[in-house]
Subunit: 448 residues, 2 copies
């Protein structure tokens, strides 16, 4: 798909009907919305924030994107809406302020990842895009962190583009996985656009396209002497290793893609070493995930690097986060009115917020406190920083900075959160002040 | 993300290293590749093919897209590759033939959804994009078919864009869900681009943005008299229904988004009917899936339409299909050489194929036979049709045609495949001829 139309219409219809209703009612007070995840999925003890860059890029650019207002004019729902509104939409630009948790930061449920303050209409219409941009990359970065923990220092390369939820998702997954610590990706466009190292070996079709397996290996090795990782399982894995040795090839690596990877890697390693090919690395792939990688490690597999695709890019055990974007504050005529929602199991806390992170004596993360924004909490570090002012970005980070942050953040986590099997809770609390505010707002909406 | 660069680089690196290796070796015989799904995920008795349109659009357009060959020239792996190859890539166009199963067709594992015949290099480099484009939409269409079966005739509207794997995935999900029978989507761009009906109600933030819940309802209803579906659970669901009645509003519908939807819908229906609002529909949403919809039906919920988001667009119980793209045939110097792969659990059958569908006496689908392409099987209908010739599309279908096909195809399935809980197998066999070919190819590769 030629997806060059990431315009303001790439959103839910109700964002635009609500915008029209606010507009027609001249109801456009300053609003603050917060984007956060309601709860951790099973099998996740923490999340790694990612996707902000693409979200902000979009917010900054929506002002220039051409909105096809004719489509909306013809839409049956919009029959009673004035020309002024369509003109407003055609010239839409975001003029507000955004605070956000920096990408690569470890975060937990209820902690705002993004806080938007702007005229109500502008803040409202960002909802769908912000959620899609941020929760997907956060999903993948959080899954990747687990896979990397499982690999215990061995390289993990993301190569799931073909199984991602469409071509763009593959690109975004490559970025998020790299942030979380993957060594690189197979996605060439991700390399070109984001500067992520790209890797590749060969496919079974390459081997099959020649009459002879060894001929296929030889021809590849001579063209890619610095990148010759040979796939050995097209016909018979260990026979292919024998053939490589007999032909006198010295590949950078071999790739195992099927069968018992622990047994095959051990047998292949023995053969390679016996032939003096101690430098030839063994790569493994084939529907791997954190559990199978832990199991391979436990069985003493002689694997130097893992290629992880499908499980990583679709985050199979937790393919979605409960990400929401909620109104928390309105300012009208100089008066602040705090907003909360009391729906069963879906309540929210009112007021613009900041997240404060405390460390223990060893410098590890001890607990987080969610407070009202603008307050100063001693002895803790604030996680949200200003990233946009009057619709313009105020800070830029390189992908390498973000990746270094993620590494450091994960290192600073309490050890028990590293468990891939055991649920471990990190302490996150709302400040007393926020709890009082919630009680107040609730009281206002109590039946008389 | 401004994803206007769906160029040939939106692919796996090894597609391009293999292309270079073929090119430099002047090894470019005519090749046939087939894209198919290896096995059904748990909880799926059939798949609904979708995504071909976007795949073909891309193939036809890659010829004109600008490939950033400078990026590849600088890539460490490509140090030994000639200028001629980069020139070839810069001017790349696909010149081959494609056969495919029409979108909306019910398909099963091992059945080629797409068959590509072209010079080896051209056919190879399509792999990543074709898989990402087709398997995601097929995933969503197949999930949507289940949700629609669960809804037993009530409308299902897709509104998962915010939880999709990035903004583009939301757009693709809307299309796939509509093909499978959803009544529409919340995604405005999907409406604009694909002509899908778009629906929306209001959000909690809309209600909260006014001082008074009823004021919010009134203002919305007067602006959108034909599309006034009022969200009633922001503070207290049944009290909000009372308020609507007391204010004399006559909304098109109300939406329940939390709590016990069966109980609340029954109570709300009673209140609405007592007030003469028999025409006001009840919409339900909130992390719904096929199981919860069946359960609501079983409990006699008074729900007229379901909004389904996250579960649908990420296909939570089966977020990826085991889609592969495999070389099956090579033609060189007038000689056809059949290709198969014998890797453990990942074997493939050789030769270009056609799928034949037989019906029983009642006109229901009885079984499929996968034969060698070009053979005529009596009494059955071939599923693959030619869609591209010399790189140009030879057929176009409207989304409505595709959607009508899906409806008819699902109606023609044997009843037992409709079960949402029970696994039911549909009979799919390879022809004796293909089994013989496989044995032959295997023998050729046997150790001497």
């Amino acid at each position: 798909m030629n997806a060059n139309a990431h315009s303001l219409l790439l959103t839910d219809l109700y964002e635009l009907t609500m915008a029209a209703a606010f507009f027609e009612n001249r109801h456009n007070p300053t609003a603050t919305f917060e984007l956060f995840v309601r709860r951790l999925p099973e099998n996740r003890n923490f999340l790694v924030a990612a996707g902000l860059e693409q979200a902000l890029e979009w917010v900054e650019q929506t002002c220039c994107a051409k909105v096809d207002v004719d489509f909306l004019r013809r839409h049956p729902a919009f029959g009673h809406i004035s020309d002024e509104f369509f003109e407003y939409l055609r010239n839409f630009r975001f003029s507000g302020e955004i605070w956000a948790v920096s990408e690569g930061t470890v975060v937990f449920p209820n902690e705002p990842l993004v806080r938007v303050t702007a005229p109500l209409i502008e803040a409202q219409v960002l909802e769908t895009y912000l959620l899609a941009a941020i929760t997907y990359q956060t999903t993948v970065a959080s899954k990747a962190a687990r896979v990397i923990l499982a690999a215990q220092g061995r390289d993990v390369v993301e190569f799931g583009s073909r199984r991602a939820h469409g071509p763009e998702a593959g690109l975004l997954a490559a970025r998020a996985a790299y942030i979380a610590g993957c060594a690189g990706t197979s996605n060439v466009e991700a390399g070109r656009r984001f500067g992520i190292p790209t890797f590749g070996t060969i496919a079974h079709s390459y081997v099959m396209a020649f009459d002879d397996e060894v001929e296929a290996f030889q021809r590849y090795s001579s063209l890619f002497p610095e990148a010759s990782v040979l796939l050995v399982d097209t016909y018979d894995t260990l026979r292919a290793v024998d053939k490589i040795i007999a032909a006198g090839l010295k590949p950078q690596g071999i790739r195992l893609d099927s069968g018992d990877l622990a047994e095959l890697s051990t047998a292949a390693r023995r053969k390679l070493d016996a032939a003096g090919l101690n430098e030839t690395k063994i790569f493994a792939s084939g529907d791997l995930n954190e559990q199978s990688i832990v199991e391979l490690g436990r069985r003493g597999a002689k694997i130097d690097a893992y290629g992880v695709g499908t499980e990583l890019v679709v985050s199979r055990d937790a393919p979605a986060l409960s990400g929401v974007y909620k109104l928390v504050e309105l300012e009208r005529d100089g008066r602040t009115s705090y907003q909360a929602k009391f729906s069963a199991d879906k309540g929210t806390h009112p007021a613009a917020k900041q997240v404060w992170r405390f460390r223990d004596a060893d410098g590890k993360f001890a607990r987080d406190l969610i407070s009202q924004a603008g307050k100063r909490i001693a002895g803790a570090e604030p996680l949200l920083v200003k990233v946009m002012s009057e619709g313009k970005r105020t800070s830029h980070e390189t992908l390498e900075q973000i990746r270094a942050r993620a590494k450091k953040q994960i290192e600073d986590l309490p050890q028990q959160l590293f468990s891939l099997e055991q649920e471990a809770k990190y302490r996150v609390e709302f400040s007393d002040e926020l709890e009082r505010l919630l009680a107040l707002v609730r009281k206002e909406h109590q039946p008389a």
